[in-house]
């Protein structure tokens, strides 16, 4: 397991073959169990489809199987001797885009599927843009159903060129193209003999080797306090530990730290996971730290280093994806959740709405409905401790919660 864990999302338009691709990955990596295969063969026979319909593996809800579509993200797991994988299989339909956003927010890599016959569709653009917006640094564009275009290299190159001209306007440092047939298995796990003109890696080979650990921020020390551990038992009468997940940088025992927002300084006296004492902590570890001094520090506060502090701001310039079923009502107060902090917030202004297909900024029609992406200005009731999302996903992201329905209505990222 030299490479640890890779979390990736499969996205693309309806019928581009996402569920089939995942079925293929699981099947060819021998992750499908006998009883699962029997059960989907039985179900496929009942519906009169030829052979086992591999998409039945991921479409886990009754409504999905009835309609033959994916409504919500399904998570699948497989491992090769080199790596463990978590797949988020995202829905392709536009009305379920918010579920795709859910899957993309925790992914290190995105696979975008394109049907070789259909080429780039609106959802190809939308999903690529969302992957970019959510800071996914690695993308694999799979030109699928190559069997249906006679394994034609010219058609493949045409789609690659179209995609490149679109993606040149996105900030995704690592984009790779692979011609595949998820149904027949070409270039998924095994190399295709029918596309000898392609000399790159197979999809699985690429997934096994892509390097994502460097994407984590190991420079800027950020420790949002999640929970204060106070045993109040005879044995640990005066113990006061700060529990949280390291959001950036490396904390070491003995380090001088500053608590924000109070600005009080102290020193790290211990770092522990359970009863195991550690010398240091780094992302994404969950630890308990103790400090040399009794300072005011609780959930929502943050430990940082004196000479490297996040911005403290109350006026946010944010990109949001609207997830609520009801359109955004201007002037309404939201609860904004950022790291372990919750503050009241109001959207002051919609700067522009984005046309996903053209990436044009719409400045006339500023009504924001479900799945719209917009740039907005938000004012919070108290300062937030933020970093640029491109530098730190944990301290550069937030959600908006409707105070009435309590639902999550927007996902936001900050560019500072």
């Amino acid at each position: 397991m030299a490479q640890g864990l890779l979390r990736f999302i499969t996205a693309g338009s309806v019928d581009d073959g996402k569920s089939t691709l995942i079925g293929r990955l699981l099947y060819d990596s021998k992750t499908i169990f006998e009883d699962q295969l029997e059960s989907i063969e039985q179900a496929s026979n009942q519906r009169g489809t030829d052979g086992a319909d591999l998409s039945l593996l991921t479409d886990g809800l009754r409504a999905e199987r009835e309609q033959g579509i994916t409504i919500d993200v399904a998570y699948r797991y497989f491992a090769t001797p080199k790596r463990k994988f978590i797949i988020a299989d995202a829905p392709g339909h536009i009305q379920y885009t918010r579920n795709m956003v859910t899957g993309a927010s925790t992914a290190d890599l995105a696979i975008i599927l394109i049907d070789a016959r259909a080429g780039l569709l609106e959802q190809t653009h939308r999903h690529s843009f969302i992957a970019h917006l959510l800071g996914i640094k690695h993308m694999v564009v799979c030109i699928n159903k190559m069997d249906l275009v006679e394994w034609d290299e010219a058609r493949y190159n045409e789609i690659v060129d179209l995609y490149r001209s679109f993606s040149s306007r996105l900030d995704i440092p690592d984009i790779r193209f692979i011609p595949i047939s998820a149904l027949a298995g070409d270039n998924v796990v095994d190399r295709s003999e029918r596309m000898a003109w392609y000399d790159g890696p197979t999809l699985l080979n690429h997934l096994e080797n892509v390097h994502v650990a460097a994407d984590r921020n190991m420079q800027d020390c950020r420790f949002p306090v999640q929970y204060v551990v106070r045993p109040q038992t005879d044995e640990h009468r005066d113990f006061r530990g700060y529990a949280g997940r390291v959001a950036g940088g490396v904390f070491k025992v003995g380090d001088a730290v500053v608590a924000l927002p109070s600005g009080m300084g102290s020193k790290v006296t211990s770092i522990a996971i359970g009863d195991k004492q550690m010398d240091m902590a780094f992302p994404p570890q969950s630890v308990v730290m103790t400090l040399a001094d009794d300072i005011d520090l609780s959930r929502g506060d943050m430990l940082v280093r004196e000479n490297n502090q996040p911005d403290s701001i109350q006026d946010l310039d944010a990109r949001i994806c609207w997830l609520g079923e009801q359109p955004m009502r201007p002037g309404i107060r939201f609860e904004l959740h950022h790291t372990s902090r919750e503050v009241k917030a109001v959207v002051k202004e919609v700067v522009y709405k984005l046309d996903i297909n053209t990436l044009h900024r719409l400045e006339e029609d500023l009504s924001i409905g479900m799945n719209d992406i917009a740039r907005v200005r938000i004012r919070t009731a108290a300062p937030l401790l933020v970093d640029d999302y491109r530098r730190n996903r944990a301290t550069g992201s937030f959600i908006l919660v409707d105070p009435g329905t309590r639902l999550t209505v927007a996902a936001g990222v900050l560019y500072t």
Partner: protein, 302 residues
């Protein structure tokens, strides 16, 4: 330089689980851990111990007791509760049957699996739990593959899988209306093999039923079931002795055993790694239809 800071996938899953448990303690007024005595809820409890050390786990363990338990499970539960110094709350299916609030299934495949749900819901209501942490994993079953970490339940404890809340990054939104609650799944991203590797690595105590042992069993519809007073035998079913172990632990009447000589954690890990059938392949409760799990989950099942 960053290669010094690589975590193994088990370390990463552990960090995620601990984070989720702390969010539960921080966000909810009356959280609880649903404890079945099975390996997954034992792992959740182990993570909770780590998450809040050196303090005690700040929430009770809740056991929904079908009355058809393996005696080993109950003993194990009581020992663990004592060791952790946490409160144990038992929701009894038998009590609901005695009060006439639920009706038991009849027939050869009768099980109390389905009527666990009303017992769970009445326990949640009686104690006004606003978050119930469970050991369910997405890799277990295709409806569970759709679960969020914080999974919303309405005031009838129902799950609406077609309309789940978005869940972004690790910003879990536990806000809810009065009467509603959340089911929380810290082990969502773990596989069966991860669980066993973790139990081995952390040397976590588990009930003896998971290890190979000789037991009186009957064979039914391709399954091996432990013979017990709760099982209605068909005339042609003859109990026999066999070397078996259990891959999952549920109610005695529905939990299938597998033939095995894995009598140590190392052998179990090897057996699971080579397995060609899913762990729930032996669960009679899932066999009833393609949507058996989804339908039970919508009603409020674990």
């Amino acid at each position: 330089m960053s290669s010094d800071y690589n975590l193994s996938h088990l370390d990463e899953l552990e960090a995620e689980g601990i984070y989720v448990l702390r969010e539960v303690a921080a966000q909810f007024d009356r959280p609880a851990i649903l404890f079945s005595g099975g390996k997954d809820s034992i792992c959740v409890t182990h993570l909770a111990r780590k998450a809040f050390a050196p303090a005690r786990i700040p929430m009770p363990l809740v056991h929904i007791d079908t009355g058809h338990n393996f005696p080993e499970t109950i003993q194990f539960r009581d020992d663990l509760v004592q060791e952790l110094g946490v409160q144990l709350i038992v929701g009894s299916v038998q009590d609901l049957i005695d009060k006439g609030e639920v009706t038991e299934e009849k027939g050869f495949n009768a099980s109390r699996n389905r009527i666990q749900t009303p017992a769970l819901i009445s326990t949640i209501e009686a104690h006004q739990f606003d978050a119930c942490v469970g050991g369910a994993r997405r890799d277990e079953e295709k409806a569970r593959a759709k679960e969020r970490f914080f999974s919303h339940r309405d005031d009838f404890s129902q799950w609406d899988p077609k309309n789940q809340r978005p869940e972004l990054w690790d910003l879990y939104n536990g806000k809810h209306q009065p009467g509603e609650h959340f089911r929380v799944f810290p082990l969502n991203n773990w596989t069966e093999l991860d669980i066993w590797n973790y139990i081995l690595r952390e040397n976590i105590a588990i009930p003896s039923l998971y290890f190979a042992h000789e037991r009186e069993i009957i064979r039914r519809e391709g399954q091996i079931l432990a013979n017990s007073a709760y099982l209605n035998l068909r005339p042609e079913e003859v109990p026999e002795k066999l070397q078996v172990r259990f891959r999952t632990l549920g109610d005695l009447t529905i939990t299938g055993a597998v033939e095995s000589d894995a009598d140590s954690l190392e052998k179990i890990v090897a057996e699971v790694a080579a397995a060609r059938k899913t762990e729930r392949g032996g669960r009679m409760d899932d066999k009833r239809s393609q949507s058996a799990m989804e339908d039970r989950k919508k009603e409020g099942y674990f």
